[in-house]
Subunit: 402 residues, 2 copies
């Protein structure tokens, strides 16, 4: 910790040069800071041949708020270790970490600038046919291989301790599960949907179900999660798909990672009502999103089942009835967490471009109401929705509120 | 660790003298080793006035097996810290720890020799009217106050890390959940019930449900458990009841502690068919046991509900529907773990006097078959048994097998 200092462009350049085989002492390196948004300092370091890498440094506070919100720089360790671990389990879809410096809380990693951030691309109406099947592979492999199916009790407990990540989990515990369901000052609620937001504060049935999901988030360490699989953490192209930003990683319920992504695809679905005026283009994009949702779950379930059948090391979990039960429970959890994501991105602190970039305010309010109504249905009905088709049917039949 | 040496009687006397206000330098202290059975060295240290204390030292191996089974002496820390923590939460029913020495892995604690060990007393057909209501208080207070209802995410994660207890949990993971359901060399099966034991090895439905219970044991850190609440860990009298031996303590599912005790009361019930030849005496003792089972759950549920309503610090868990759901889930878990306890104590490594002390072998085999059949029913039906009366009705209607 004593060697810690906040990077200037010069420091980032020096850090990249010291730890990257890609750069030579004779290179002319250029380092440019570009905010990743919320928490950290991020530089792109490029040489004269166009070869580039990313330097990401954790600041001892949350960047979006400032020094008044101190935040452990140990999150850089979590991020580096989760990415390295997930990278071994699924190198195709995990950003490559080249070096991690604990004292500087800094990570040198591959630059994915040639890809697009999924959220912006979806807002622009783009489609990526391989997205869901690739993410299904990523989720199945990273989650299965860090679960009780593979690790014995000794290994698992050591892993749980290594990735407790209390400070960043607390952010999720608050923003995801608490704030949207009460009149919290951190909430960010557009005036037009205040009546619908208020309903959440007095919805006993919903709050009881959200409490169950929160209790599992706190006390169900099933696997090493990424912890923040939203569409801003995924880089895509027509052929590739890579996940970044694992600082929220911890041992939690598998459905949280799967559900976060489902929730983000559904946020995109909701936003389409306001982003795309041409009905047939909009319907076509929404059909693509539902198809991706189906493929995501089916691909995940199929790969995870295959792994359970062939790679389970813990004999107690070899029972095929248990494995079916396990997957069914992951689906219910995933649907519940997807519902939470829809709600917290609509009325909580951190909004998403899928809804924010709708220019027509009344139309935006309708989309937000749709997101809230859908989120609520998913949370309440997650145990009845036993197939992904049932979820898609629910989405398709939910009317766009006035 | 460098100061660690195995106590002689002299060492135990010196340890007690150094750390007990009760003893003076001028006292004539006598120290006598008496095995607590399985894992540790235990001395009673007494002065000439009859005042006595217990010195318990962890050996670097499991005493019952010998040096070939190495076992961490960190279990003494776990035991001392769990007892101290539970002792603050429920001093009436937790043995008092006077001193703990990490280097020597030794604990000085109150002597409960004036009380009886519950298991032996039940085998002798004794009754303790306050047992269940006192244990209900112990379980409700120790478990509630170490749960997510009270601790925030930061506190809870620090606690989970402090009490991971991987080595001792592994013993439970193996002996409780794995061995009885396969042909494991550690199993200890009386010849007469071999056919019934074999059935367990091929019972897919049962194995799937045991897998769910094991997965929760591994990955459901709801509260700081005692981890080994069997009737050999409880000292009783007509008015008192105190719990000892917390070295298996860890953050796990609340139902595991409650269910272990339920299972032990049911083992006593099963054993009565063979221990007590006088039918009316036997029926009277079994009625007492069922009444204690009802009181245990009702007392626990009532106290835990009261605590949830009045002492919950985490606002997300203030919902009364959530609290009802939570208790219902604890009941289902408890019934499941009680079923596992019945089975593993009948065919697993560690048997209990309730069944072992039946002299008539054919009668013993019938009692063991009863325990296995009951265990299986509890595990399979735990979600349908939504009240403790339903459990008792099932017990009363289960025929004693031939």
């Amino acid at each position: 910790m004593s060697d810690y200092h906040i990077f200037t462009a010069d420091g980032a350049r020096h850090f990249a040069l010291s730890h990257a085989d890609a750069f030579r002492d004779s290179d002319q390196l250029e380092a440019k800071e570009f905010g990743d948004g919320n928490l950290n300092l991020v530089f792109r370091v490029k040489n004269q041949h166009g070869r580039s890498l990313i330097v990401k440094q954790a600041l001892p506070y949350a960047r979006c708020v400032g020094e008044s919100w101190p935040l452990t720089i140990d999150r850089a360790r979590i991020e580096a270790e989760v990415l390295l671990r997930h990278g071994r389990l699924c190198p195709e879809h995990t950003v490559q970490v080249l070096h991690y410096d604990p004292a500087l809380a800094a990570i040198l990693m591959e630059d994915l600038g040639q890809l697009e951030i999924l959220r912006s691309a979806l807002v622009a109406g783009k489609q990526f046919p391989l997205l869901a099947s690739q993410m299904a592979q990523y989720l199945a492999h990273t989650l299965f291989h860090t679960s009780d199916f593979v690790l014995n009790g000794l290994q698992k407990k050591a892993e749980v301790a290594r990735f407790l990540n209390p400070e960043l989990c607390l952010i999720t515990e608050d923003l995801f599960f608490t704030d949207p369901y009460c009149n919290h000052e951190r909430n960010n609620i557009h005036q037009a949907i205040l009546p619908q937001a208020r309903e959440l504060w007095h919805d006993d049935a919903l709050q009881a179900e959200v409490a169950r999901l929160k209790a599992d988030f706190l006390s169900k360490p099933q696997a090493l999660l990424h912890g923040d699989v939203h569409s801003g953490s995924i880089f895509v192209s027509a052929t590739q798909c890579k996940v970044i930003d694992a600082e929220f990683g911890f041992y939690g319920p598998i459905g949280f990672d799967v559900g976060s992504l489902l929730g983000n695809l559904l946020l995109s679905y909701a936003g389409q009502f306001g982003l795309q005026e041409d009905t047939s283009v909009r319907e076509q994009q929404q059909a693509y999103l539902l198809e991706q949702i189906a493929t995501l779950w089916q691909g995940f379930a199929s790969e995870f089942s295959q792994l359970m059948q062939t790679q389970t090391k813990e004999s107690s979990f070899a029972s095929s009835s248990y494995q079916s039960f396990f997957l069914q429970q992951v689906l219910a959890d995933s649907i519940g967490y997807a519902g939470c994501e829809l709600i917290r991105r609509t009325v909580g602190l951190a909004h998403v471009a899928d809804l924010e970039q709708i220019r027509n305010e009344p139309q935006q309010a309708r989309c937000e109401r749709f997101a809230l109504a859908l989120g609520r249905q998913l949370i309440l009905q997650r145990h009845e929705l036993t197939t992904i088709q049932q979820l898609n049917t629910l989405v398709q039949h939910l009317p766009l509120p006035a």
